[in-house]
Symmetry: C2
Subunit: 566 residues, 2 copies
């Protein structure tokens, strides 16, 4: 079947030109760009004065952070012109191991958006993490047989690379042996340490927050992924990269993006629009989001409107609004006037589906699980700060006679992290400050990177209620107070993802976040966000794991009670 797009303004990502030419597509391929007659095609699409550009590619995203299945994510992204994403299933791999990766691959087959995969390189992210699985080099190898696997995901373990740790180096070697790419993640690394990290074969970074940081990487041969997600928003700072000589070594990525933002602002199209509003060339931004991402990942014949290229094409109203009207993917129309054309979900084998949908392996919690035996008065308290992942260690004198040490007036709440993968019964108990909750409790299974069950509360009864609710619904976010559940967002897939649509997940997420604020939490504080990183012992300074408190700076376990020391 031949389809002729007549008279469009075609963005040429090889030359930065916009040409008024016809585009002839046969089945999934573009076969002609130039002057073609209507008689040469079976179907004519009059695209006069509309802009045609290649489908957008998100060069680095964690699907789990959208809380959507690949299919539901596709529904919202494709409308915004994204025809390919490169996803790192790091989160689900921490919960379900290779089954999690298999689930992501299987559930993303045959979607109207191509989902490429990078294999998670750091599961677990630290030795303190009690994850659902430990992935070593040999566990990953078989996945390279899948053509959609483009390489090794972000090598966050840069201390391991610099120290020459064998397992991480072996994973990198494997990616090269299979001819694949190795993603980087090394914020603020510079100079000789950066040289060392890059020389290990790590060829991109998406953590740049300043132009000079990005320019050093480009000079040293890395590709820079300009990230604009929900939490991390680097576009504005990195606008200088849209100029030469930098732009040819950049691409656009979202990394972590919430469904509400996807719905309201968009995806890669939103980043392009922002760049245009800031006075940058739309064509430069489109080039970054198409041919450059494709070239970097060695995706041949993807990312351009040219003969032989896969017909992943967008019809935009114009280059100012970058508003996506129609989307063709592999030559098939998948978005019509802004509406996604329905498609069949991929069928995931029962064994894999069962594994990811039953990821909670923990006994029902009891009230006594939350108690802590007082061994003194002076305690280490995790001090969180609004919109920051960094925490501080605060020493406070607690009165264990009153509410088991919890002191709502001084904003000292109880914190528990319960191992939920292998039913070990491990539970880390301590105290946290900075949340400002006056009553009730919140619990979640989204707790980077090990995604154990985490609870913060003003009293142990509500903590128990919230935690067991999470367990019973197989994961999610829950808000409880005064013995009842106020709001919840179930995430039954690995405790990370919903099966609902982006709209419904966004709605549930809003309800949960609003419920938190009825508990007295100040506006501007997002406890679920803080809570999601309170258990990640790679970000300073004091974190809580299933095994207890970790001093991240010294990488040592420390007791809650200061007096208990040595």
């Amino acid at each position: 079947m031949k389809r002729l797009f007549k008279n469009g303004l075609v963005v040429n990502v090889f030359t930065d030109e916009v040409e008024r030419v016809d585009v002839l597509v046969e089945n999934e391929r573009i076969i002609g760009v130039g002057k073609y007659e209507e008689a040469e095609a079976d179907v004519i699409e009059d695209v006069s004065d509309k802009v045609l550009c290649p489908g957008f590619i998100d060069g680095h995203i964690h699907i789990e952070s959208t809380m959507l299945t690949p299919a539901e994510l596709a529904k919202v992204c494709v409308k915004h012109g994204t025809t390919s994403i490169v996803a790192d299933p790091h989160e689900i791999a921490n919960v379900c191991g290779t089954m999690g990766i298999a689930y992501m691959l299987q559930s993303s087959e045959e979607l109207p958006m191509t989902v490429y995969m990078m294999l998670p390189s750091c599961v677990p992210s630290t030795p303190f993490d009690e994850t659902g699985a430990v992935l070593q080099a040999e566990d990953l190898r078989a996945f390279y047989e899948n053509e959609r696997v483009l390489g090794l995901g972000e090598v966050m373990n840069y201390p391991g690379v610099l120290a020459g740790q064998q397992d991480v180096l072996r994973k990198i070697e494997d990616a090269y042996a299979y001819g694949r790419i190795v993603n980087g993640h090394a914020p603020l690394l510079s100079g000789k340490a950066l040289d060392h990290y890059i020389a290990a074969g790590i060829t991109d970074d998406h953590e740049c927050s300043e132009p000079e940081e990005a320019k050093e990487r480009i000079r040293k041969g890395q590709w820079v992924m300009i990230r604009q997600g929900t939490a991390a928003r680097n576009l504005e700072a990195l606008l200088p990269l849209f100029e030469e000589p930098w732009s040819h070594r950049c691409m656009l990525v979202t990394d972590d993006r919430h469904p509400a933002d996807l719905i309201e602002e968009g995806h890669i199209d939103h980043i392009i629009r922002m760049a245009v509003k800031a006075g940058k060339s739309a064509i430069t931004a489109i080039r970054m989001a198409t041919i450059q991402a494709a070239s970097y990942y060695n995706l041949r014949q993807v990312g351009a409107i040219a003969p032989g290229y896969v017909a992943d094409m967008l019809i935009l109203d114009d280059l100012e609004s970058v508003k996506v009207r129609d989307v063709y993917r592999h030559g098939v129309k998948v978005v019509d006037k802004g509406n996604i054309i329905s498609f069949q979900d991929a069928v995931v084998p029962m064994e894999i589906k069962g594994a990811v949908e039953n990821s909670f392996h923990i006994e029902e919690l009891k009230l006594s699980d939350f108690s802590i035996e007082p061994k003194g008065k002076r305690c280490r308290v995790i001090q969180v700060q609004a919109s920051q992942l960094l925490t501080e260690e605060r020493i406070a004198e607690l009165d264990f006679e009153k509410n088991n040490g919890i002191d709502v007036e001084r904003d000292i709440l109880k914190l528990a992290v319960a191992e939920r993968h292998h039913n070990t019964g491990h539970i880390g108990i301590g105290f946290v400050s900075g949340i400002g909750m006056k009553r009730g409790a919140i619990a979640s299974s989204v707790s980077h990177d090990s995604h154990n069950l985490i609870v913060i509360g003003t009293n142990e009864e509500d903590m128990l209620l919230a935690a067991n609710r999470i367990r019973n619904i197989g994961g999610g976010n829950v808000v409880a107070a005064d013995g009842r559940i106020l709001a919840e967002m179930p995430l039954p897939i690995a405790g990370l993802m919903s099966e609902l649509s982006a709209q419904e997940v966004a709605k549930q997420n809003r309800a949960v976040r609003e419920a938190v604020h009825t508990l007295g939490v100040a506006n501007g504080v997002e406890p679920f966000m803080n809570m999601a990183f309170i258990s990640l012992p790679v970000i300073p300074a004091l974190k809580m794991t299933t095994l207890g408190l970790v001093n991240v700076n010294t990488q040592e376990m420390v007791p809650v009670f200061v007096d208990d020391e040595q």
Copy 2:
């Protein structure tokens, strides 16, 4: 072993900058680019005020056209800064088939220059050609196991691509299946036919002679190889490509280059110098000749001075002269102050060596082999023109009573093409005009693309002498007159290549060309050049094969005698 290059001016091919930085090399890899201390290395090279740039890559060359073995070619090219070439062994494959490709791979191992290979796609180039071998898709496949094989060589058979011929399409599919590149060759193809050709998966071209021709290809996604060889010299016309947006999709190649030019002018360095003299940026030219060629061929960590990259580096006096002083290849010094450091030749297995050194399979010729039975008077004569590969058909009335139709005064000489691969006894006999030889004969085994034995003479005795001399020395160029050999250049390897050095081959070649002119050939006429293409029935209009005359325009065999028609 760590080697530190202190204080050089380093060309950054990612940013087009020149930075004064130190470069730290460990074994074959660059591991640091920045400020490094002498204590961090075992060996210090003070390169203050010298320019460091990546080793040059010739993106498309036929080694056979240099008449040198890979080792001898390396000796001359590496001195000029070439650390990698991408060679298409099309000529030797026409003679020796897969043994020829195997010879090229084996004899190019472990040289101070990396020799990558493209598999010849068109052996034979036409059905009229009686070659030493016919290479079908299945004959090529096994070679893809070799990592130095980067893809399928120039697909000259564009009519076959446009007509959907299965064997050529299968060869292209195979290259893609192995994740490799497909080189193009389609001079003057444009518009829809070019779209069709490109859509088949052919992603570059080195035959562009005009900027607009090149720009159309770049717009359509092809890479353009700017060629400056011995015969075809396109650089001057293509200088506009050194500007944006074109330069990022170009590389530099020589295609066919004679040893005298390599010695006297240089190789890729010569093209860069020419571009600089024409006012273009040396850095743009270096970028084309390094990272861009490497990126196109998916040679990872090649073509730049950056951490993780292979230490193929040149030390130049400056960016104006582009004079290569020292060359490091895989971190080892291979050229010191312009002098190549001697190296061990590769050992080629006897079986392969024997096959390419005994490529003449033809009985000794007899005088009667050159006779032609007169079937009339009006004959088709091949009319050649100085420095052109095109020929014309001229009709002349010949007197067969006198010198068997040869008429030196009217410049009508005898031409014979004898099949020499399978001893079939096939010999095409006819007449040629435009050479201007007054006495003697010349013969050669360099006769594109089938490389049969070709002879042109003023009398049959000297033709016999020259032809049998070629046979007896196993190939080469020979000039004979008055019953003796005046000059010769033996090419015993497949009848195409010498085992001597570039200097000696150039000397022999000069002697042969000078001897021709003692036979009355005017200056400016190069009969060996005309003769080399007189048997190639893809260039219009009238050509001679082992089976007789071919009208290239109609692609039909035609008899010598006009009266004999039908």
